[in-house]
């Protein structure tokens, strides 16, 4: 659409915070009990980062790719698109990320977890556990309904944080896989910011943290050796 350039970010917020958070309540209600499967997938991914067969990296990437596709359809197209005209574009970004995860990780096998865990790797695992266990509780702690939990595997924000954690925990930093999740951190941060949500800075800070650790890891002389 032309004319987008003429708007401020706050002008583009086309729904109220109540409508936004209510979306997750309705989404969770419609998905139940599928959340058990996605959370189980999360627990499985966490376990596989520490031990498992040599092809576990491919399996993790395949599961993540499926989850990104699921969020693209289930959340962005089926739910968010009703109140946000930009949602189909976000869905497209999630589909592209799913394809990248499938190709780079599942098919080409470039995501591995064989090397000893560096500090960056440990931060990655911690970030994944944060996305799986603690991030969904942020909304409840801020006074929102418990059935509006944003969960890893079904809601975009914890899914993105969890994925960034896994990518940080892998033996090599794959920058091509970091771009879209980092971009989403900025987009969702801007959305929450114009809604005056208290947790608006969380996702941008996570994105920044990941980029800093990823850069440090990429520049480290040990990087080329670890895991390859």
């Amino acid at each position: 659409m032309s004319e987008w350039w003429a708007y401020q970010p706050s002008d583009l917020l086309m729904f109220s915070p109540q409508t936004y958070y209510r979306l997750f309540e309705l989404y969770n209600t419609s998905l139940w009990p599928a959340q058990i499967l996605t959370l189980a997938a999360g627990v499985g991914i966490a376990a596989l980062t520490t031990r498992g067969p040599h092809w576990r990296g491919r399996l993790i990437a395949a599961v993540l790719a499926f989850i990104w596709l699921f969020v693209a359809w289930g959340y962005f197209i089926d739910r968010y698109a009703a109140i946000n005209l930009a949602a189909p574009y976000f869905a497209l970004g999630f589909v592209v990320q799913a394809i990248l995860l499938a190709v780079v990780g599942a098919i080409l096998g470039h995501i591995t977890f064989e090397g000893a865990k560096t500090l960056t790797g440990k931060v990655g695992v911690a970030l994944f556990l944060f996305a799986l266990v603690f991030q969904p509780l942020v909304g409840v702690l801020l006074g929102r309904e418990w059935f509006g939990l944003e969960l890893f595997g079904s809601a975009p924000d914890p899914t993105v944080v969890g994925t960034l954690g896994i990518l940080l925990a892998a033996d090599r930093i794959r920058w091509e896989l970091l771009v879209l999740p980092a971009l989403w951190c900025a987009i969702t941060g801007a959305t929450l910011w114009v809604m005056n949500s208290p947790e608006a800075l969380l996702m941008p800070l996570v994105g920044l943290l990941v980029l800093v650790f990823a850069a440090q890891r990429s520049l480290s002389p040990r990087h080329e050796y670890a895991g390859d």
Partner: protein, 304 residues
């Protein structure tokens, strides 16, 4: 010299002859009305916007709340409801509310065409009409001047064919006023919609006088800058003389300022609350501030 109705109302409004014509009309218990210059039709001076407030998707509770807001709006004598294809699910929710409340006959249905491709206009308008579930719109406007030449052609043709009653064009947030002014000079418009409130008053210089001169009705959007102005002043005391204009709250103070301007035909505050709809419609009653009082209101706001 013979004058048509548009020219007559335009002259009355622009030439200091307003004292010769009633500024406002009002049925018993209903909000004040003003005349649409091109037709003389009376329109309640407070309408209902739908940006954000009616974009509630498929949330059944929120949709029913929206229907309650709409019912209160019509119960209070309101008529104009304004929306746009840019407003997400708002058009569909409006259609739901009209069906649920059985109020399609009451509405002055106002929407917009918003696509950068002029050829897509008729299709978008038809989809919009189906979402509202009405036979035809009272007013369609070119949203934010997007592809305005092609869309104005489409809307004018619809009006000539009897498929539309009024044609308009919109802007908001103070954008593209020079271009809007040129269009107002060169094209036959029934309505313009623009941003006007007690702090965004740039349109007072040229666009509002031009609308009066040309006999174009004016819809004021963002009378509260969404909620910003109310939040900005809510901790401040209303002046004692607010009673003189019948303003019991900041919302009424701000809204009365807008709708009292002689060029403004209708303001379209948006809300999700029944009590706010009633408060807004109550603003559309005498007394309204005269020009001197409006200057005093501006001065008071500047001091806060």
């Amino acid at each position: 010299m013979q004058l048509n109705r548009r020219q007559l109302f335009g002259l009355l409004a622009a030439g200091g002859l307003t004292a010769l014509a009633p500024r406002f009309g009002r049925a018993q218990g209903a909000p004040l009305t003003k005349r649409i210059p091109s037709s003389g039709e009376a329109l309640p001076i407070v309408g209902l916007g739908s940006w954000i407030t009616f974009n509630v998707g498929d949330d059944p509770e929120a949709r029913d709340s929206s229907a309650e807001v709409m019912q209160a709006f019509f119960d209070g004598g309101g008529r104009m409801i304004d929306s746009s294809p840019m407003y997400g699910s708002a058009q569909e929710v409006i259609g739901y509310c009209l069906r649920k409340t059985g109020t399609s006959a009451n509405v002055f249905a106002t929407d917009k065409v918003w696509t950068g491709n002029g050829g897509e206009g008729p299709g978008q308008i038809e989809r919009t009409r189906a979402l509202w579930g009405i036979d035809r719109f009272d007013l369609l406007q070119v949203h934010n001047l997007v592809a305005w030449e092609a869309h104005l052609d489409t809307l004018s043709a619809m009006k000539n064919d009897g498929k539309l009653r009024y044609v308009g064009i919109t802007t908001s947030h103070g954008r593209r006023h020079n271009e809007l002014e040129k269009i107002m000079h060169e094209h036959d418009l029934d309505f313009v919609q623009l941003t006007y409130n007690i702090v965004d008053r740039e349109v007072e210089d040229r666009l509002l006088p031009l609308a009066q001169e040309k006999g174009i009705a004016v819809i004021a959007n963002r009378p509260f800058r969404r909620k910003e102005l109310i939040h900005r002043f809510e901790d401040e005391k209303l002046p004692e003389w607010a009673d003189d204009i019948g303003a019991a709250s900041w919302a009424q103070f701000l809204l009365k300022f807008v709708i009292a301007h002689p060029a403004i035909t209708c303001a379209i505050p948006a809300t999700t609350r029944v009590d706010h709809v009633r408060e807004n419609l109550t603003s559309a009653r005498e007394p309204l501030p005269d020009e001197e009082m409006r200057r005093r209101m501006v001065a008071y706001i500047r001091e806060l």
